[in-house]
C-alpha cells in the first residue's frame, strides 16, 4: 500500500499557489507561470499511474513542473549561445571576467536574496499545509492577498469575531511551525 496518493481534485486549491511561487522566481512572467502550472497539472494527470506513492503529491508535482520549466528555457534558448545573452560587455578585454564580477559586486545580492526568500516561501507553504483548509484559505486571503476583513466575512459568511479567532489560531500555528522550520 503506497503511503501517498494522488487526488487531482484538490491539486488547484492545495498546490497552485505554491507551484506559482516556485515558477515565478524562475520565469519572471506570471502568464507563462500560469501556463506552465496548467501544463504540469495536465501532465500529472496523464502520468498518474506512474506515481508510486513514495514522494508526497507536492514533491511529485514539483518534479514535473521542473521539467516543464526546463523545456520552457530550451524553447526560448533554442538558438545556440543565447543562454548567456544577458551578460554583455562593452569591450573585448573584460570578457571572461564575468564570474568574478558577479561574486565581487556587493550590490548584486539578488540571486542570494531570491534563494533565501524562496526557502522561506517553501517553509511558509509547508506550514500552511499544516493548517486546516478553511484556516489556510482565510489566512492567505487576509495576510498575503490583503483582503478587507469585511470582504472575507461576506465571502465565508462569518462574523468579524469569527474571522479574528481563525486568524489568531492560524497565526499562532504558523509562528510555531516557522519557528521550528525556519527562524
Amino acid at each position: 500500500m503506497p503511503k501517498h496518493q494522488l487526488d487531482p481534485n484538490v491539486w488547484v486549491d492545495r498546490y497552485s499557489d505554491y507551484l506559482f511561487n516556485f515558477t515565478i522566481v524562475r520565469v519572471n512572467d506570471s502568464e507563462i507561470a500560469k501556463d506552465l502550472i496548467s501544463e504540469t497539472f495536465l501532465a500529472g494527470l496523464k502520468s498518474k499511474d506512474n506515481f508510486k506513492g513514495e514522494a508526497t503529491e507536492r514533491t511529485w508535482l514539483i518534479s514535473i513542473l521542473k521539467r516543464k520549466i526546463i523545456d520552457h528555457y530550451r524553447k526560448i534558448n533554442s538558438n545556440k549561445g543565447k543562454a548567456e545573452v544577458r551578460i554583455s560587455y562593452n569591450d573585448e578585454e573584460s570578457e571572461g571576467d564575468w564570474l568574478e564580477e558577479r561574486v565581487s559586486d556587493p550590490f548584486d545580492k539578488t540571486a542570494e536574496d531570491t534563494m533565501e526568500n524562496e526557502e522561506l516561501g517553501i517553509a511558509i507553504y509547508s506550514c500552511l499545509d499544516s493548517l486546516n483548509k478553511k484556516q489556510a484559505t482565510i489566512f492567505k486571503m487576509k495576510t498575503i492577498d490583503g483582503f478587507d476583513t469585511e470582504a472575507i466575512c461576506n465571502e465565508f459568511n462569518i462574523t468579524a469575531s469569527n474571522l479574528w479567532v481563525i486568524i489568531h489560531r492560524a497565526r499562532k500555528a504558523m509562528a510555531d511551525c516557522l519557528e521550528k522550520n525556519w527562524l
Binding site: V12, F20, K34, S38, T143, I144, M174
Partner: protein, 76 residues
C-alpha cells in the same frame, strides 16, 4: 486590558486595523505582561517573514480556469 484582548489587538495591528487607543493600551499591557510580549514578538516576526518572502497567490478567476482545464481533461 486582559491578555485575550491584548492578543486580539496585536493580531489586528498586524493588518493595521487596530485603533490608536488600542495600540496605546496594548503598549501599556506589554510593559508588565511577559506572555503577551512574547506573543507580540513572534507575531511581528511572522508578519516580517511573510512580507520578506514576497509570496504571491493566483487569483480566484485563474484558479477556476486551472480547475476547469483539469476537469475537462479528467472527464475525457
Amino acid at each position: 486590558m486582559k491578555c485575550e484582548e491584548a492578543n486580539h489587538v496585536c493580531d489586528k495591528s498586524q493588518y493595521k486595523e487596530a485603533s490608536f487607543v488600542e495600540r496605546i493600551k496594548l503598549a501599556i499591557h506589554l510593559i508588565y505582561c511577559s506572555a503577551c510580549r512574547k506573543y507580540s514578538f513572534r507575531n511581528n516576526k511572522l508578519s516580517n517573514a511573510i512580507k520578506k518572502s514576497d509570496l504571491k497567490t493566483i487569483s480566484k478567476e485563474d484558479k477556476s480556469d486551472l480547475k476547469e482545464r483539469l476537469h475537462q481533461e479528467m472527464s475525457k
